[in-house]
């Protein structure tokens, strides 16, 4: 394990979390390699979001540890290496008076630091991030005036603007129509391929996801499966039925990519 420590983006070590007497996560151990695109799947209430929050240090587990790029999460300081699009991005205050540009620029605030202001080069980065999600023409629209899919792109741009090495997305397509979510997944795949970024995508949308990710992890309080997409597909029917408690077919969608 130690010989490849430099190639691990996230290490979760025997992590357990409970709210009161309700177990949410039990002895979760996993490693996510740099450059992988992991789909983290599991039914509702399986602890996916809690695991992500523990990974990001937003929740403190009662047992176990999380390491980001080899550093314990509570000592980790390079937060601009990490982009995060939360589930909450679907339910933010849509009447908030902020333009798309202003929202994306928030992603740079940690990098810019206290008592400092955005420079011209920072503003260029914001434009670049907006272009990378094809939203530059909406830069000066209020975020609340955009459609759900467009808002989601803005939040991705906010996560991308600090050039993160790791991008974590928690159910980013909830509330977004199918067409938008397809183009959204394609965009993620491009980002992964072009920037060699590590991506973690939390979803319950098992079928579509497998067309895009390189690895899959199944979580239901514990990790039930963690391997590459091919292994997942080969073993998927028995895995899935054990996992969801009923028989599940993994649907294969073809969206015109090779």
């Amino acid at each position: 394990m130690n010989n490849n420590i430099g190639s691990i983006a996230i290490r979760v070590d025997d992590l357990s979390f409970h709210y009161g007497d309700k177990n949410v996560l039990q002895h979760v151990t996993m490693e996510i390699k740099k450059g992988s695109f992991l789909g983290l799947v599991g039914p509702n209430g399986s602890g996916k979001s809690t695991l992500i929050k523990c990974i990001l240090g937003l929740q403190k587990p009662q047992e176990g540890h999380v390491f980001l790029f080899g550093e314990k999460v509570n000592k980790f300081n390079d937060w601009d290496k990490v982009g995060y699009v939360s589930q909450k991005a679907n339910s933010f205050n849509t009447a908030f008076p902020a333009t798309a540009f202003e929202v994306v620029s928030m992603g740079l605030f940690g990098k810019v630091g206290l008592f400092r202001f955005l420079k011209a080069s920072d503003k260029n980065k914001v434009w670049e991030a907006l272009r990378s999600v094809k939203m530059d023409q909406y830069a000066h629209q209020n975020i609340g005036e955009l459609s759900g899919g467009q808002q989601q792109r803005i939040f991705i741009a906010r996560a991308l603007v600090s050039d993160p090495e790791l991008l974590i997305l928690d159910e980013p397509t909830v509330g977004v129509d199918t067409e938008s979510s397809d183009s959204f997944y394609k965009m993620l795949k491009e980002l992964h391929r072009e920037n060699n970024m590590t991506l973690v995508l939390v979803t319950h949308d098992v079928g579509v996801m497998t067309n895009y990710v390189t690895d899959v992890a199944c979580l239901n309080k514990q990790i039930h499966f963690h391997g590459n997409t091919k292994e997942f597909e080969e073993s998927s029917s028995e895995n899935m039925s054990a996992f969801y408690g009923h028989h599940v077919h993994v649907l294969h969608h073809d969206h015109g990519h090779e």
């Binding site: 937003l58 939360s86 333009t99 928030m106 810019v112 005036e145 938008s180």
Partner: protein, 282 residues
């Protein structure tokens, strides 16, 4: 110079009004988007308790009789602000409970202090409803000091306040120490409320913090524009309200708030006629 401004007390009122017309809406923008519009009300009532306490102590001690009650009001207000932040942690799932708790405690204390001090006097009446003739030169300087502190704070902490208002989680991920910033923000809000009350009165302070913002967020593009428009609406109302108050001999708090209400209606009408547009779809 305007004939209106030849008296020192009117200059005092005018200068204070212009500063308050800037301060209250600037902080109000952050308060409103954090959905805490009622905090201003809670803090203004605890400020009243401070002022009543000073009036009461003034009966017994020449030190307090000579002191400007605004300082005691500020002390109570800042204490109340810090207490609200603590209560919000105790009642994690009922954050808004902190507001009625502080508000009723403020009113309760005020009523007790006022009755112990043998009831209302003109002074107290001025604090409740605002009066442009009651502003002293020392009030102008106090408000000016607060203006400097608030503008520096908002200018240098703009990024942090903006992120924390939009999305506290993102703020924490950017490594922003949210706790002390929010406490400092509440303390500053408390100062501004105490500073504003001579002009608009305790009962109407929250209007000056929230109504300009309510109008601006109807039409603003972006957060910075929301701030500028709020300040513009705040200033128009304060200046117009003070003129009306002087020439028609009305309580300044009332005329200022009514100007704000008129502006609010105009923006709602404007929005109705220009229509709200949803932009394209993906």
């Amino acid at each position: 110079m305007l004939p209106f401004l030849k008296y020192e007390f009117l200059q005092n009122a005018f200068l204070t009004g212009i500063m308050v017309g800037l301060l209250a809406p600037v902080l109000g923008v952050f308060i409103v988007v954090r959905r805490q519009a009622l905090i201003a009300d809670a803090l203004s009532h605890i400020t009243l308790a401070g002022i009543a306490a000073n009036l009461l102590l003034g009966k017994w001690s020449s030190f307090f009789a000579a002191a400007n009650p605004i300082y005691m009001g500020m002390a109570f207000s800042v204490g109340g602000a810090i207490f609200i932040e603590q209560l919000r942690k105790v009642y994690k799932h009922y954050e808004e409970l902190a507001i009625p708790i502080i508000m009723s405690a403020g009113i309760g204390l005020s009523v007790i202090f006022i009755s112990m001090a043998d009831g209302f006097n003109t002074d107290l009446f001025n604090y409740l409803f605002g009066s442009i003739i009651a502003v002293k030169r020392s009030d102008v300087w106090t408000v000016f000091a607060i203006l400097v502190v608030v503008l520096l704070f908002v200018f240098f902490m703009y990024k942090e306040l903006f992120v924390l208002s939009f999305d506290e989680e993102q703020g924490k991920l950017s490594g922003i120490r949210s706790n002390w910033i929010l406490v400092a923000f509440m303390a500053i809000t408390a100062l501004v409320i105490a500073a504003s009350m001579k002009i608009v009165g305790i009962l109407l302070v929250s209007a000056l913090m929230t109504l300009p913002v309510a109008a601006s967020i109807r039409i603003a593009k972006g957060f910075k524009q929301a701030i500028w428009l709020s300040v513009l609406f705040g200033e128009i109302s304060v200046i117009a309200g003070m003129f009306l108050s002087y020439y028609l001999d009305l309580a300044s708090g009332g005329t200022i708030v009514l100007c704000l209400v008129v502006i609010l209606f105009l923006t709602i009408l404007y929005k109705k006629f220009t229509g709200s547009r949803k932009v394209g779809h993906l």
